[in-house]
């Protein structure tokens, strides 16, 4: 059959299915708003109360005054007690994952900074094999992807799930055993990469023998999460639970299939590689971060998300479209044409979940944007949410053939990847950690100004990094497309932009030093404020409910 007729038939069938889906959603009442479901993150009477544990008592009162809601009701004490129990049950595993994440963040930052310098100082640190660009670059990638981001994501999941399911974390000890396995695996994996033992594919460098440990650890954590899920004491599963449970299962399948030894070969291995590479972001980091925003952002400003149904639409469209976009990494490559086209179409379709998310967050924050002045945690969350919009829309356009022919194979792609993994995912993780850790440790952040300093170092560093490298990458791509210009020209013209990237990376690394230093100060119980000590236990209990 003619391909034109086939595509027409496909479009017709899709429209019919879409129509039935619409009728079904009307019958199920899915298009009627559901404020009750959106409010399950609050205890009874808690809506309207701001919540930012990273702020001191006085600052919280100031922020509360800025909300200007009318009456504040009494908060249901039983539900608060449940929440305190949930937090207490997850405190130790969550602390462990955050500590690992901080460790890897520093390793990853320094490895990244070294890699960045090497691109404009190619004769610097060349005597040792493990410091050569091809290896230290992969050390950076694996340290930040598996070490920092994944540990932080697991900390968020293990902390948020018991709260939302109104139960304690079941199987916490297994989650911790799992975390130990994973981090032992990452240590071994990064050591292997530095020593030159690698599986040789981007995002899949860690040798599959070591991956067995990482997978086993991950499976243990999933068991703990699922066990908590089935022991829940709420009827309704809040949308963050969907995102996080789905993300855990998705990542397990992705990691398992992509690392299967002896199955993938040649071009098919390349499509599998990018199916994995893009889904690690799309079906692991993105849903965890989006789920985190759906919990923390409304919680901080004390107002439920405006359209709960829009968040569900966002979930299912993300689940369906995001999985198939990986082929856009191979546009123009030796893979079947239909596969590239499919991936381009689904990349553009990704605009739907992103717009759904953005409309929802904009509506929720309507009239409350000024609260970002009071709450640094909210600032991180808002920045991350906005960058989700930016990076995802940019990604959709980057997948178009006309744009891709310029940006493919250039530093533009690197800048885009950092917009997603840093400006979006990492900023959300920072914000979540600032919120969670006072609850985890029962201790205030000792030097609140460092949070603001961290934010600006990260935001300004990221801006310099992204803007410079995007310009450099675009110029590089234009030069490579012009047959009249030598290839070397595409190399030399990137030099100033590669240097600006190092400046941006340096600022980000400084921000991380501030962040991790602050974390240590808090873990070691430094600081002028000592609220939450045993003496003030009673008041702490009450403060917990805010």
């Amino acid at each position: 059959m003619d391909s034109a007729i086939l595509s027409l038939l496909g479009a017709f069938l899709l429209s019919i299915i879409g129509l039935f889906g619409f009728i079904w959603s009307l019958r199920k009442g899915l298009l009627v708003e559901n404020p009750a479901a959106a409010s399950v993150i609050f205890a009874r009477g808690e809506v309207g109360k701001i919540d930012d544990p990273a702020l001191s008592e006085d600052e919280q009162q100031e922020m509360q005054a800025a909300v200007q809601t009318g009456t504040v009701l009494a908060v249901d004490a039983a539900e608060i007690a449940d929440r305190v129990d949930a937090d207490r049950s997850s405190a130790f595993p969550v602390f462990m994952f955050i500590a690992f994440a901080c460790f890897w963040l520093l390793i990853g930052s320094f490895a990244g900074l070294i890699s960045s310098f090497k691109l404009h100082e190619p004769d610097w640190l060349v005597q040792q094999a493990w410091l050569s660009f091809g290896r230290i670059r992969s050390v950076h990638l694996n340290a930040v992807i598996y070490g920092w981001s994944s540990n932080a994501a697991l900390a968020v999941i293990l902390w948020v799930l018991p709260r939302l399911l109104r139960t304690r974390l079941h199987g916490a000890i297994w989650a911790m055993v799992g975390g130990t396995f994973i981090n032992a695996g990452i240590v071994a994996g990064i050591g292997a990469i530095a020593a030159g033992w690698t599986d040789g594919m981007e995002y899949l460098e860690i040798p599959w023998q070591i991956d067995i440990f990482i997978f086993a650890g991950f499976a243990l954590i999933i068991l703990s999460a699922l066990y908590t899920l089935v022991n829940r004491r709420v009827e309704h599963l809040y949308v963050s639970v969907w995102y996080m449970i789905a993300a855990l299962l998705w990542f397990a399948v992705l990691f398992f299939v992509a690392n299967l030894p002896g199955v993938h070969t040649g071009v098919q291995q390349a499509t599998t590689n990018w199916w994995y590479g893009h889904n690690a972001l799309g079906l692991w980091f993105t849903p965890v971060s989006v789920g985190a925003i759906y919990y923390f952002l409304p919680k901080i400003i004390g107002r439920p998300v405006v359209s709960y149904n829009l968040s569900l639409l966002g979930f299912w469209t993300l689940a369906f479209f995001y999985g198939q976009v990986g082929g856009h990494h191979l546009i123009g490559g030796p893979i079947p044409g239909w596969l590239t086209t499919l991936s381009i179409v689904q990349s553009v379709m990704m605009i739907i979940p992103v717009i759904a998310f953005t409309i929802n967050m904009k509506g929720t924050l309507k009239g409350q944007m000024h609260l970002a002045r009071y709450s640094p945690t909210l600032r991180f969350m808002m920045f991350g949410g906005l960058m989700y919009l930016a990076s995802s829309v940019q990604g959709s356009f980057e997948a178009l053939r006309s744009v891709n022919s310029v940006t493919h194979f250039t530093h533009f792609t690197v800048a885009h990847a950092h917009l997603g993994m840093y400006a979006f995912v990492s900023m959300v993780m920072f914000g979540a950690i600032y919120f969670m850790l006072p609850r985890v440790l029962d201790w205030e952040w000792p030097y609140p100004r460092l949070i603001t300093l961290h934010f600006w170092l990260a935001a300004v560093g990221m801006a310099i990094y992204f803007i410079g490298l995007s310009i450099g990458g675009w110029l590089q791509g234009m030069a490579m497309l012009d047959a009249a210009r030598s290839f070397n020209e595409s190399v030399t013209l990137t030099a100033p932009w590669l240097k600006s990237r190092s400046v941006g990376g340096l600022l980000m690394t400084l921000g991380h030093l501030v962040f991790v230093g602050h974390f240590f100060a808090m873990a070691l119980r430094f600081g002028p404020h000592r609220t939450g000590a045993a003496l003030f236990w009673q008041s702490k209990e009450l403060a917990h409910g805010k």
């Binding site: 691109l119 404009h120 190619p122 060349v126 005597q127 040792q128 094999a129 050569s132 660009f133 091809g134 290896r135 670059r137 992969s138 690698t198 599986d199 040789g200 594919m201 981007e202 089935v230 009827e235 599963l237 969907w242 449970i245 789905a246 998705w250 399948v253 992705l254 299939v257 199955v263 993938h264 070969t265 040649g266 071009v267 098919q268 291995q269 390349a270 499509t271 590689n273 199916w275 079906l283 569900l312 299912w316 689940a319 999985g323 198939q324 990986g326 191979l330 123009g332 490559g333 030796p334 079947p336 991936s343 194979f409 792609t413 490579m480 047959a483 290839f487 190399v491 030399t492 030099a495």
Partner: protein
């Protein structure tokens, strides 16, 4: 939603669709590919050299997939015809690459067949291409006072040669160069047959 089973099964179906499209279908499509007549399997030494290429992460700056002439001027840069799936039947892991910080290497063996050039260029790229930002790989070489029997000496431009020493290539460097010299996909491939 109240039902965790619906959530889990819905999520898994979505991923299954993606896996079918990006993993399973390509697997079935390329599983029975025959190697082109002009493509020889890698020799033992080339495979060792390929392992050096993999372990030092050359793939992060060099692609091995020239694009079609109507998409990019890869052909006129001398990088070769657009590659086809059959070109990669012996490749494991694949080394298609996603960056061109340096040039495409799919046909570097045809473009630059000289062993001396490759050895010298690995030792100090800027001795041959002044504006290059490729790292130097001194750890693939040894400096000696005088050559011994069986040593492969590296001939360098005077500016890059160390004073009073000779540069000897390691096994790894020799294997890697053999692999690079073997990267030659200039043989013709027939266009894919149209299915009736």
């Amino acid at each position: 939603m109240e039902n965790e089973l619906k959530l889990v099964s819905g999520a898994m179906v979505a991923l299954a669709v993606a896996t079918a499209a990006l993993v399973v279908l390509p697997y079935m499509q390329v599983r029975d590919l025959k190697a082109p007549v002009g493509l020889k399997p890698y020799t033992e030494q080339q495979l060792r050299g390929r392992a050096v290429y993999v372990s030092n992460g050359c793939v992060y700056c060099h692609s091995q997939q020239p694009r079609d002439r109507n998409l990019a001027p890869d052909f006129s840069r001398g990088w070769g015809r657009a590659s086809v799936p059959a070109d990669y039947v012996y490749d494991k892991p694949h080394l298609l690459g996603s960056m061109r910080t340096g040039p495409d290497l799919f046909n570097i063996g045809a473009r630059q067949p000289s062993k001396d050039w490759h050895l010298g260029h690995l030792y100090q790229p800027r001795a041959y291409v002044p504006e290059s930002i490729m790292p130097a790989y001194p750890f693939l070489f040894r400096l000696k006072d005088a050559a011994e029997t069986g040593d492969q000496l590296v001939t360098l431009p005077p500016s890059a040669a160390p004073v009073g020493k000779v540069v000897v290539a390691s096994e790894d460097a020799l294997d890697l160069v053999k692999y690079l010299q073997g990267l030659d996909h200039t043989y013709p491939v027939l266009p894919a047959l149209d299915t009736p």
